[in-house]
């Protein structure tokens, strides 16, 4: 036998278990029940939480886009247009604002959004306007055609 005296039986199994445990428990402090205190339960809960967080990074992008679309649809319906018509006519006119910026404009700058909605409406009715009237530019809309003339 190697350990013949009492002092040799003492093993130092790692000096920093406390801090390793605390490092994990700090991610579980806001959980409910014993999972926020007990290491064995917290290990499973924290691992699941991290997995959910990883998957949610993609879902967040989807959710945010859906929220922007809902907000833009609400704002455009306030001005008498529907969301698909608005977006299609904005693309046709060459306005390349994305949905995030459009929803911010709809909330913080309502008059700018109104002008964009009117632009989209003018582009939408362009076919009818050319057919029914003499085909002049609609009032209040600048276009490349006007400038080149």
């Amino acid at each position: 036998m190697v350990f013949l005296t009492l002092s040799c039986w003492i093993r130092n199994r790692g000096p920093d278990r406390y801090w390793k445990v605390q490092e994990l428990l700090k991610h579980a402090r806001h959980f409910r029940g014993r999972k926020n205190r007990c290491y064995k339960l917290a290990v499973k809960a924290v691992r699941r939480a991290f997995v959910y967080a990883t998957k949610a990074r993609k879902q967040k992008k989807h959710n945010m886009r859906a929220l922007w679309i809902t907000r833009i649809a609400a704002a455009s319906r306030e001005h008498g247009m529907k969301y698909p018509a608005l977006m299609h006519n904005m693309i046709k006119t060459g306005v390349q604002l994305n949905r995030r910026v459009l929803s911010d404009i709809a909330i913080t700058e309502p008059r700018s959004f109104l002008s964009l909605a009117k632009l989209a409406q003018a582009r939408r009715e362009e076919g009818f306007r050319v057919a029914l009237t003499d085909g002049s530019e609609p009032p209040g809309v600048f276009s490349r055609v006007v400038c080149q003339q």
């Binding site: 929220l67 809902t70 907000r71 833009i72 649809a73 609400a74 704002a75 319906r77 909330i107």
Partner: protein
């Protein structure tokens, strides 16, 4: 609006409005979509599911709601009491006679999102079978929404001048006997 303080601006932005809809001679589904959009707050650009931005909606004349087609006889509302042999099926006409608000209530309930906010939103929906509305609700109303369906005029609602001014579609021959 730019001269308001931040808190006053926020208070005004998130204030709850009261909408009035007249459901007489309107399809209940179309009324219900308008109600559900406003109860959720999806008509506002500041919408968020957690912000509690829904408004109140008052629907009057639910007794005079009008289904299209043969739905009064064909549409069936089913329920189960939970006890054995408790499956009940009622046609829309029978249900309407029993409770004139039930059709609108079930229509809006089915169009709201299936989460815990649904009950709160239903509490913000106020249904009245006729156009008699209590005064405290009348005092809160802010806006009336236009009806989704254009109500056609009955023949006896046209004045004689309008009937005479309507162009003749065909001229009957002299020996034709009109009933």
């Amino acid at each position: 609006m730019s001269s308001f303080s931040r808190s006053a601006q926020q208070w005004a932005t998130f204030a709850r409005s009261w909408f009035l809809i007249d459901a007489s001679l309107q399809p209940p589904g179309k009324i219900a979509t308008m109600c559900s959009v406003r109860l959720q707050g999806k008509h506002k650009p500041i919408y968020h599911a957690l912000s509690d931005c829904g408004d109140h909606v008052v629907v009057m004349n639910t007794r005079h709601v009008a289904f299209s087609g043969n739905k009064w006889e064909q549409k069936v509302y089913s329920s189960h009491t939970g006890y054995p042999s408790g499956f009940k099926q009622v046609t829309a006409a029978q249900l309407h006679l029993k409770d004139p608000k039930a059709i609108m209530k079930l229509a809006v309930y089915g169009m709201l999102p299936r989460n815990l906010h649904r009950r709160t939103m239903m509490q913000r929906l106020h249904l009245f079978p006729d156009d008699v509305i209590p005064e405290d609700i009348l005092a809160n109303l802010t806006e009336e929404l236009p009806q989704p369906r254009k109500v056609p005029k009955r023949l006896n609602e046209y004045t004689q001048e309008e009937i005479d001014a309507f162009p003749m579609l065909w001229t009957p021959p002299e020996d034709y006997k009109m009933k």
